[in-house]
Symmetry: C2
Subunit: 288 residues, 2 copies
């Protein structure tokens, strides 16, 4: 294993690329049509630019697809076309937060073009420090992706089944991001109802760890809210696929859409001026 292609080096992707590069791999990306911010992140991470999608498919031993859920299928289709055009032998890992059924569709696109497909899902923050982030993998080629463990990534193999790595991610993010959405929903309502102070006093008495989680976690969410809308919709679809209620995560998508339409979402994670929880609630309650 020598070269890894990243589609695309955004917040998560460029950190993964940087980690693999500092562990001895060459990392490449196709950056045409990408934002100035993504190009800047790629340059900072030492990711090399290749000119065409075909070059990406030919030069990479592994392609890691790390995008927003809505872009996952199109990226697979472009890759399938590049595989057909070049005859390249590609190991393609869809690392996106998508439903098992979506992963299976994407896997079929890659396999039918002759690529080897791995269902992968990322749990944890962009992997800057050791041990905080895992790349769950499933499917018959999951063991091949696990070779990246020699280059700084944790790649636990879940099973031989395409869909299982995605299922773990859906149930995990369904809790973490679902809870963030639930808390935001309730706190904005409390602000609108005029009982925020009494509620916080009670949380402080009997839900101390949860209050700390909210105060620590909620103000950093708005810059990510827009891309979480699609993830919540994938989780809702996952719940519905086994007969459980999709409504929690449909509600979570609504909240992230509301937050994403506010000025709070115009910050980037690099901006230093994170609002306090109270400031965030005051902005959101005005949007009702």
């Amino acid at each position: 294993m020598e070269t890894v292609g990243i589609l695309s080096p955004g917040d998560m992707g460029h950190t993964v690329g940087e980690r693999l590069r500092t562990h001895g791999l060459r990392v490449i990306a196709h950056l045409k049509d990408r934002s100035a911010r993504t190009r800047g992140l790629a340059a900072k991470a030492g990711i090399e630019e290749v000119e065409t999608f075909e070059a990406l498919a030919e030069e990479a031993d592994v392609l890691l697809c790390i995008l927003v859920p809505a872009a996952a299928e199109e990226a697979a289709q472009k890759t399938a076309q590049a595989i057909r055009n070049t005859g390249a032998d590609v190991l393609y890992a869809d690392c996106n937060a998508v439903a098992p059924e979506t992963t299976k569709r994407i896997g079929a696109i890659i396999s039918e073009a002759g690529g080897r497909f791995v269902d992968a899902s990322i749990i944890g923050p962009p992997p800057r420090r050791e041990g905080a982030t895992r790349f769950y993998a499933s499917g018959e080629h999951a063991g091949s992706l696990a070779k990246l463990e020699a280059y700084g990534l944790d790649v636990p193999v879940v099973s031989e089944r395409i869909g299982d790595a995605s299922a773990v991610k859906m149930c995990y993010a369904g809790l973490t991001k679902g809870l963030t959405a639930l808390c935001t929903n309730l706190l904005v309502a409390a602000e609108a109802l005029g009982v925020r102070e009494a509620l916080f006093a009670e949380y402080n008495l009997s839900q101390g760890p949860m209050l700390k989680r909210m105060e620590g976690g909620l103000p950093g969410m708005p810059p990510k809210s827009r891309r979480w809308v699609g993830e919540m919709e994938e989780i809702a679809a996952t719940m519905a696929s086994v007969g459980m209620s999709p409504k929690f995560h449909e509600g979570a998508a609504e909240i992230y859409r509301l937050v994403g339409s506010s000025t709070l979402a115009d910050r980037t994670p690099e901006d230093p001026d994170e609002p306090t929880l109270e400031e965030m609630l005051r902005v959101l309650v005005k949007m009702l």
Copy 2:
């Protein structure tokens, strides 16, 4: 203050009655049409039975209405009729988990009959030990209810506004019981998808306190699930009343309805044989 009437001495009500009684008050209830279990709990708590609703209204200095949400309005109507029949001077505290709009309707029923109404809401477990449970109160007569602080209850006054005590409860239980429902939804889905073990391993690594909360809290939920359905619907209505998403708590109502239709819900909180989380999930996944 000498006599408190409890409508009705169920799990929460009989414990409240017992606490007031051991702190020197006479506690009475009207037990006609009540279940054998409720009559037994009342007897155990030393609550005296009165023969008619009129006697309850006449003899009680305070009436505490502690019921499932769906029964709250009917109880207020029966009390209003008893006030009209007797001319009794009643302080009536609706302690139920209902939306602020529901509380306002109930308050109007009592006030129009000549009673003094308090919006109250209980946060915490049945008050067996000191300091764990609070009776939030709001409205112009909240201070009168706060006299129960001399008899073993914590009664923080939120405001002069009817609806505020209920709003605190809705946003609080919206988090605690909403989170329990969200976790149940996700864990049953993980079981159905065949990834429960991988998910628990990841929760254990990165969501330890949340996993402990689930293992400790979820197995005790089924006996309460049936009465939580209505509470979730009141929370959904509260969210919608200020323009926030009702979907989380509509989803929570669905989950509690599913759990409530299982044999798990036939236990009572007194039964010693609480299932493990894994046993609970195995029962629920069969209902999909």
